[in-house]
Amino acid sequence: MINLTIDGKALQVKKGKTILEAALENGIHIPHLCYHPAIKAIGSCRICVVEVKPGPPRPQPACTTPVAEGMEVITQSERLQDLRRELVKFILVNHPLDCPWCDKAGECLLQDLTHELGIDVVDYEAVKVPPHIDYESRLIERYATRCVTCGRCVRVCRDRVGASAINFENRGYFTELGCGHVPLECEFCGTCIDICPVGALINKLFKYTARSWELTKTKTVCPYCGGGCNYEVHTKNGRIHRVRSQGSLLLCGRGRFGFGVVEAPERLHQPLIKKDGQLVEAPWDEALDYAARGLKEVIDNAGPEALYGIGSPRATNEANYLFQKFIRAGLGHNNLDSPARYNFARALAGIAAVFGTAQVSGVALESVKKGVYQSPWEVQEEAKGSGFPFVLGNTQHLSHADVILVIGADVTPEMPTYGWRIMDALKNENFRLVVANPRKTKFDRYANLKLRYQPGSERLLLIGLMEAVLEAQPGYTPHLEAAGFEDFKKTLLKTSDNATAVADLFLLIGQTCNKGSALYPIAEKNNSRGVCDVGVMPNYLPGYQSLAEDGGAFAKLWGKPVSEKPGVTLGEMLDQLENNEPEAPRALYVLGGDLVRLLPNRARTERLLQKVRFMVVQDAFLTDTARLADVVLPVAIHAELEGTYTSTDGRLGCLQAALSPNGTRPDWQIITELSQRLGYPMKYGSATAIFAEMAQLMPIWAGIREGHRWPHKKISVSLQGKFVPFPTEISIPGEGKYTLIVGKTLAHSGSYTTHAHGSQTIMPGAALKINPADAQVLKVQEGEPVKISSNQGEITVPIAMTVELPRGVVFLADHFSDTPANLLTSNSNLCRVQLQKG
């Protein structure tokens, strides 16, 4: 700690901080313009100058001068104010008086500085600079005339986002912000808009809709990917006008521009029930009665096990918890699963195979009532934990890693938060980035090593890496306690999936004593992790507790014992339907998740779901799955909801409602209504009450509260794993010359954002990405349609040529309903296809 005085106030601050940081932390105001806590200070505007003793006789910029022992800092004096005033006047010489219609007015740093420094007249003149205003770019408008050339946008785009899409053009007085006099073609994350201290960058969705002081700000969590970014929605008159992340300001494009999903015209506001083969609108009570009657009929005829439950990685923890409680306690079986089975749960299963199931001890249930959204379990001194959750990494620690190996992931579109952390890690000169992907991805440009492999051959690559480790250091032993190492060494090359292979590799090389040494699986949806955590799985109770050893806690709280017989997974359930097995479900209760659109082999899923006698779907939109349902119940989403989400790294995000649900209802209310009608009443006043019950049943969540992750950092970890063999055969289903990868893009999240105007502006439709040489062979030009056909089906999509893809590999995004990519796939996101000029 360093002792110094600022304006006579004695302070103690950490070594390495700058004067400005020290002052801001202690509530001392120093005017500044180019400094922002999210980016590196460069001291270019010189407005934060302060007098420093001992030091040079001239004022020093506070944002770049580090604190020193015994330093005396004066932030306000006549001389300093004069300097600042002159500096701001230079900026104002050519600054247009746009304040009445500039969207930044009211939260503009230049306005604040002008007011604070009492500048009423600018007594300088300079050549007028011609106004270069970019109205053409999508979603972002650039006003060069308003720019104060502080460089905040340039730095955040280059250093934090890693896009380097904007830079300065020209020199000196004529410096302006630009990207080569063409419209912006970037990631459209919009971070530059929020970091701009003035109105030089304007959000087109927000432009002219509201003034900054008219907005009501509500903190909530982004509903798209598993990153779990906390942001504020800014509302006026019951409408969202923009969203903003406080602090770092970093958000991705779908988070910042995708909020329009809430007021999409396609949203359902009235329940639908099937009458004469048609879905027609019905009042809530009628629809709920109809749903309960249909389900009851199936239960009475075929037993409760004939009702299969499908949870939702989009719904809150509370809704999913209630859902599994309804199935487990209300119906007495474990036949439930969620679409996360096809991605995140699969990764967890692979990691759990190697590192074992979750165990925690030394946590105690506190009798004192805690605040809302806080676990009642207290972490005690001797708390111990083991198993797979402890090997999953904390996103914030990712930037401390020495080496990051990215396998198969296109980081920024799939998990932007990881992307920002990798950008932070790159600041460390000893850091090494290894990117392995069949495609060229954004991080190739930063990678120290790029590994290009054939689609689907991740396991061979991983075997190669493990061999390399073993060969490079004969006698190498893993840092972690590992069983079966000798066998594994022998059978490595002679010897259930990618996740297991990655977990094996981590067991071999991981050093969990170091910050950031962990596995970072990617959760596709906002609550993919939460849906698994709260027990929407056929083989685990909430908190990954096994069905057999619940210790009676569940039966006590739920009033009914829990069946010890594990249920069937989603995939097994579909197989049962296919084979017309007697155990196959007769009724489905789908909490969300568009199975038809998202599961591989669309035609098969559609056919199998039609076999189900009665289907209840809760969704915000009339999805392809909802069209097959007998009852569709519209749910509240996004800023209409209260509850919690768990991000990919186990952090709890709390939602607050900013809008009225407008005819829809939160998932948990619908579940209680249905459960009541089916003879298992569950009464809750709010989402917080559900959270309290849920957290009481999950000791592994000990110490969790808003913004904190589980497992708690105070739990001492004893990790051990055993090497699990995995098959090395690679087979991509189907035949054809090309390998199709079905994947995600940065503009969209699932099919959800295709309903949002902002996201549709960035990416209005699908295009088949293809290597130009392949396109030439097919004799198709950019934008021309090609017919893609596989054993499962065919679709026609325009092409987009890119060198990102090697020859023989094509990529198609799976967001759009008019070009359903899963019509082509059979059991994964890879398949072989034929291409034909369409």
């Binding site: 304040c99 009445p100 219609w101 205003i133 109205y135 002219y208 809709t209 003034r211 008219e214």
Partner: protein, 134 residues
């Protein structure tokens, strides 16, 4: 004794022939001074276009919340203009703050002061009613 009576009569007679102080309202209207603060109205420029840029400062400063709605919109040349502008005259206290706050000189109080109506709805002024007549 008689003198005061005559004096009084003289005063009466003087007023009988002098110009009356009262006005025959509503047939005759009182002329007010130019700086009188009457109803707010939206100013137009030489081309007859509204000067207002929908910055909503007047709405923000209005102490009696008489300016109830300003809906901004974007014009063909990217200019900002009010698509809707509503002032509730029944709430207006004619303080003139709006005029003072306006950065474009787009709103000003005129000399009209009549507020008596059979129906209050007449006093909710929209963009058309607020536009100053040339």
């Amino acid at each position: 004794m008689i003198y005061p009576l005559i004096k009084g009569l003289a005063t009466t007679l003087k007023h009988c022939v002098s110009k009356p102080i009262t006005l025959q309202y509503p047939e005759e209207k009182r002329q007010v001074y130019p700086r009188f603060r009457g109803h707010p109205e939206l100013q137009v420029d030489e081309d007859g276009r509204l000067k207002c840029v929908a910055c909503t400062l007047c709405m923000t400063v209005c102490p009696s919340r008489a300016i109830t709605k300003i809906t901004p919109a974007e014009g063909p040349n990217h200019e900002k203009y009010p698509a809707e502008f509503v002032i509730d005259l029944t709430r207006c206290i004619f303080c003139g703050f709006c005029q003072e706050a306006c950065p474009k000189g787009a709103i000003a109080l005129n000399n009209k002061y009549e507020l008596a109506q059979y129906d209050k709805r007449v006093l909710i002024y929209d963009l058309e009613k607020l536009r100053a007549k040339a």
